[in-house]
Symmetry: none
Subunit: 206 residues, 4 copies
Amino acid sequence: MPGRRSAPDASRRSERSRLAILTAAFELAGKVGYARLSIEGIAARAGVGKQTIYRWWPSKGAVLFDAFLLRAEAIGPHPLPDTGNLERDLKKVLRAAVIELNDPRYDEPLRALNTEILHDPELAAAYADRLEGPVRESRKARLRKAQRVGQLPENLDLDIAVELLWGPLTSRWLQRSGPLTTKYADLLVRTALDGLRGKAPAKMRA
Amino acid sequence: MPGRRSAPDASRRSERSRLAILTAAFELAGKVGYARLSIEGIAARAGVGKQTIYRWWPSKGAVLFDAFLLRAEAIGPHPLPDTGNLERDLKKVLRAAVIELNDPRYDEPLRALNTEILHDPELAAAYADRLEGPVRESRKARLRKAQRVGQLPENLDLDIAVELLWGPLTSRWLQRSGPLTTKYADLLVRTALDGLRGKAPAKMRA
Amino acid sequence: MPGRRSAPDASRRSERSRLAILTAAFELAGKVGYARLSIEGIAARAGVGKQTIYRWWPSKGAVLFDAFLLRAEAIGPHPLPDTGNLERDLKKVLRAAVIELNDPRYDEPLRALNTEILHDPELAAAYADRLEGPVRESRKARLRKAQRVGQLPENLDLDIAVELLWGPLTSRWLQRSGPLTTKYADLLVRTALDGLRGKAPAKMRA
Amino acid sequence: MPGRRSAPDASRRSERSRLAILTAAFELAGKVGYARLSIEGIAARAGVGKQTIYRWWPSKGAVLFDAFLLRAEAIGPHPLPDTGNLERDLKKVLRAAVIELNDPRYDEPLRALNTEILHDPELAAAYADRLEGPVRESRKARLRKAQRVGQLPENLDLDIAVELLWGPLTSRWLQRSGPLTTKYADLLVRTALDGLRGKAPAKMRA
DNA sequence: ACGTAAGCGAGACGGTACGTCATGTCTTATA
DNA sequence: TATAAGACATGACGTACCGTCTCGCTTACGT
């Protein structure tokens, strides 16, 4: 959880209020959108005093962050499928991501969180560390397995690899620079795996 | 420019005020950051009445958008270099992008604009059409040339290709999911060109 | 009116809002009492933004003060009766005061104003100057007439005289140190006129 | 002490805390003024939990009241001087009062207490009974002595007499309707004793 | 050339939300 | 069981901006 200003006694903290706040924040973000997401609104929906939010979180973004963290913890780790067919597995995961990002209940809160991250480096670090980190590890784990069975080169930088697969999706989603379809997901995976120069140099250079 | 509410007489519009507003918006965004960027602040810095802003732009994001448009028009088209060496040319361009994104005078206003885009589909469409569009076309043009000389396969989807190269950079910048260095730019270009599976299929599949 | 912080343009001031605020302040004070009299409440009852109050008045007390001033101006000057019989005239006026102070619609707002005066010397000065001042002048005028017709000594200090008549009433009202009855008013007038040593020195000093 | 809500076991009450609270209340009132006098502040300065205050006192005013009571009891009864010269004795006492009311260490707490009395009839009754009462009795005692030696008429209402002497002073102090000087005290005593019509009936009624 | 209608700088307005403070109630642990 | 400590729901504080409005002023057009 991002930094606190003073030092309230966490042992007396009301778990009830904490959960109500995080749930309200997530739901409100999905309901009214980022622009109308206010701390007053969260407090009201959670049936909580504003001070209880200000006591435990330094910013609206931090609340949202914890709301996502709560969901992530509730869901638990997300290993990527491994059927032995890397391309198919990756397509499956990216297609799922595309579907999720098209669902307003996830899209809106996630946009709200990303808005905050955009302007709060501390929050961004927390995000990278505690929310994106584990997901990225799962992705890298799948790619590492592919390396072990010789489907990917040993010297491939897995962080770059992950970004090459998911980065285009993320930026297209954030900037709405194009439609998010399963077809797009498929094409992305295929192109990332093969590279722009393509997998069949023999034909190309012929 | 996104839609207007009423229909003021554009022929009487004060060019002086327009430029002052757009300049003030851009500079203020770089100076105080998105959170403190207000229409009142822009009006004050531009020496302009608030109504003059509300008369001509539907939102803060639209002002920011026009501020970027003004700059883009001032600079003119940006063809990518073509030395014949695609990889080197792309690295050069991505390194330049990395450097620009590390400069707070561009970073902050661009983040501000992206924040607005994140929550305003209309603005996102305008952005895709009038700001990102021409840039993307330049990029595609360079790739198309590479196709013509056989450095890239004919059937390569150029939009995907552009996103594969710049998408990871954009998302890393927006989410601060990693450092933006020239080395990163180089590695990104190389990996995108070769694909995750690498450029030497002979060895890999051996 | 007590001092202002900045310098808003009074020529653009909304008379409608001003009256609504002053009326609401007076009525609210009478309705909910001083403890629950809030600027938010006044603004809400007046159908006005809080800032409109903060723009024109430096404090809750100043609003209340102006509310009384408005009433005082609406009512106009209050000459004391002069039937030739000083004692009877004074009794009449003090009895009226007693009755007014027993009416919650005047009692509560006046207590609220006095509370603010109690802790705000600037407001107290404004009160003494613009609200109590004219009233005191009316009282002194009546006493001066009595002096002219020989009913009161020429060298009587009229300010002291006024305070001797109304001070006990005021302090009894403010501190609730005793019941406010017309009988009390009568006795007060009589005793003040005659003095503690009484009107019949002949017997006393005998 | 004004009424309590529940019935805590007074035998277990901490005398240490009680004194700390009353001392802190009085000192804080003198230091920060009524507006900033808070129960939280008193508790903090007394090194006491808030609940300890709420347990034993129904309101901030009640605490302040007890703080004054504590001081009054520490000082003990205050008989007025009796040199045989009533006027001189009264002037001495009123001059002392004037001096006290000009001392911020007494002025501020006393204003704070009066503020609470202004809006709390129960507290006002307690004040009249236990703080002002004894003082008033001392005053009446002195006047009664004067009656016995023929300096004041037998039928003089001593309560009215006391109010005629101290009421003007009190109201001038509370409302700051004029300067509180020893000269004022003297003039007040003299005028109250002689009455507005003055001490020389011979000339007047001539 | 001159009225008139528009855009303009200015800023008051009714609102919403901010982040802080104090209220009075409650719970916990210490003694 | 009273206490010190302090979290809690509540609600007011005074401030910052929102987007709308109205005011005089200037500026250019159409008669």
